[in-house]
């Protein structure tokens, strides 16, 4: 589904990702953990084409994401190619990024109508189902500014699902929420993960959630994968002292 092939990402002199190689198989739920600044979010942003790789190639379903094959040689992707590539992937952001100028229903229908070319009726039908799934059927005409953080994040999840992605990127989706709202959103995500075959790539600091829901956990440190293992193994018997230290620090805080 997703493959990083010798990916390097630098911002000026700062190397954020160093020669990164990993792949994710379809349907997998992979959590990315690690200290701030270790490059986890950058991985998601690269996949969503919000950033460009400095070196290396990212493949999504076998297609290079940032480069297109033109007469046998790889050239940088143009907008048309990027739009095709983005069809596969949806993203939920830490700060929700809902559109304040549209009500809840429009936030969810706008993508399917504008970029998938669905009819308004079809998109609204689907949006109402999804908003029911996330428990917000009664907020269709509310503006995002009138909702709590937890509600906004639920709308953002419905909005991403409405695009029928095969891969979903979750970027610290509960970090901006009040503590009492976190559990509800995490439960919702677990239900979605269990009931669909969407591939998930999830950056999180919620270790219990990572342990419960993921098939695999990758521990990042300074732009490298330090450890890549099943959650049971990584959380109970990590190979690296650095992982152990990080887990202690995070779990002690909680």
């Amino acid at each position: 589904m997703i493959r990083f092939d010798n990916v390097v990402k630098r911002f000026g002199d700062l190397t954020v990702l160093e020669d990164l190689n990993f792949s994710v198989t379809p349907g997998e739920f992979v959590c990315l953990i690690g200290p701030s600044g270790s490059g986890k979010t950058t991985i998601l942003r690269l996949l969503m084409t919000l950033e460009k790789v400095t070196e290396g190639t990212i493949y999504v379903e076998g297609r290079p994401l940032s480069h297109m094959d033109r007469n046998g040689s790889l050239t940088p992707a143009d907008e048309k190619y990027l739009r095709e590539a983005r069809k596969t992937i949806g993203m939920v952001f830490q700060q929700f990024n809902l559109f304040p100028n549209m009500n809840v229903l429009r936030n969810v229908t706008e993508g399917p109508i504008r970029s998938l070319g669905k009819s308004r009726d079809e998109a609204e039908q689907k949006a109402k189902e999804l908003l029911e799934l996330v428990g917000l059927s009664d907020k269709l005409t509310a503006k995002p500014g009138q909702l709590s953080g937890g509600q906004q994040q639920r709308v953002a999840i419905a909005r991403a699902l409405a695009m029928e992605p095969r891969g979903m990127l979750l970027d610290e989706v509960t970090s901006a929420l009040d503590p009492e709202l976190v559990t509800g959103v995490l439960h919702l995500l677990k239900d979605i993960a269990d009931s669909t075959d969407i591939t998930f790539l999830c950056v999180t600091h919620e270790m219990q959630f990572a342990r419960d829901v993921s098939d695999r956990v990758m521990m990042f440190d300074s732009g490298r994968v330090l450890e890549d293992a099943a959650p049971e193994k990584l959380f109970t018997d990590p190979d690296h002292e650095r992982t152990r230290g990080f887990l202690h620090a995070v779990l002690d805080r909680a």
């Binding site: 809902l98 304040p100 009138q146």
Partner: protein, 241 residues
């Protein structure tokens, strides 16, 4: 003392239609050019950005009155075609110059407002696979409009006052009509009254525009779910600080 006031008032009213045409025609053209050039300034393509930048700097950086004489007088002589020979033609040239001139300021207002929309909104739109045009029209501009309205209001009021310059290319607008009264010696001691009345006319037009723009501000703010703080609340906050 006010014996001749009716004459003066009639005279200025005679110029009111031309002034209103110049103001609203100029504002219309200003809006079109502000958006077109403002979005052009944000284009990733150099061949779009550079000519737009030349337009903006050219009109913003040179004198409005010289621009007016250039199009109405100098260009006519150069081309050998009397471009501003009739009052109607002069008015059209006037509207064009008012629009071009204020549009160059407006372009920077639009550009700045679009750039002030949080980057997260752009990214949210990318994640929904919107095309660059959809991102601009559906997400960025509706939010940017709220930011740009107060500055556009300023710009439009400047345009109202700038419309008096059209008297210099013989557009029969209010200032021109008032000026014509000056030629009559009997009215000389009433000049203060004539010009004060003229000032009031410009003031009323400006107040009308401000009123419309405030209304639009409230509507636009409500659209993005951001209520404009009422005056009392703003005062209360200021008092508390």
């Amino acid at each position: 003392m006010f014996d001749n006031f009716d004459i003066y008032l009639d005279r200025i009213l005679l110029g009111l239609p031309a002034t209103l045409w110049a103001v609203f025609g100029g504002i219309g053209l200003t809006i079109v050019l502000s958006f077109a050039a403002g979005i052009g300034l944000l284009s990733p393509r150099r061949w779009v950005r550079i000519p737009v930048r030349v337009y903006v700097e050219g009109f913003r950086g040179s004198s409005e009155i010289v621009q007016l004489f250039f199009f109405a007088v100098a260009l006519s002589i150069f081309l050998g075609i009397p471009l501003a020979a009739t009052p109607l033609n002069a008015l059209m040239i006037g509207i064009m110059v008012l629009g071009l001139n204020h549009g160059s300021y407006g372009a920077e207002i639009v550009r700045g407002a679009v750039q002030s929309v949080p980057r997260a909104q752009h990214e949210g739109a990318v994640a929904l696979n919107f095309s660059p045009a959809q991102r601009m029209w559906r997400v960025l501009l509706p939010q940017a409009v709220v930011e740009m309205l107060p500055s556009l209001n300023n710009l439009f009021i400047q345009l109202v006052k700038g419309s008096a310059l059209l008297s210099l290319i013989a557009v029969p607008e209010m200032t021109k009509k008032a000026d014509e009264l000056r030629a009559i010696p009997a009215f000389a001691q009433d000049l203060w009254m004539i010009y004060l009345t003229l000032l009031v006319f410009y003031f009323v037009i400006s107040v009308g525009i401000t009123w419309i723009m405030r209304l639009l501000e409230t509507l636009a703010a409500a659209r993005v779910g951001r209520p404009i703080p009422s005056r009392e609340k703003a005062l209360a906050r200021g008092g508390a600080a």
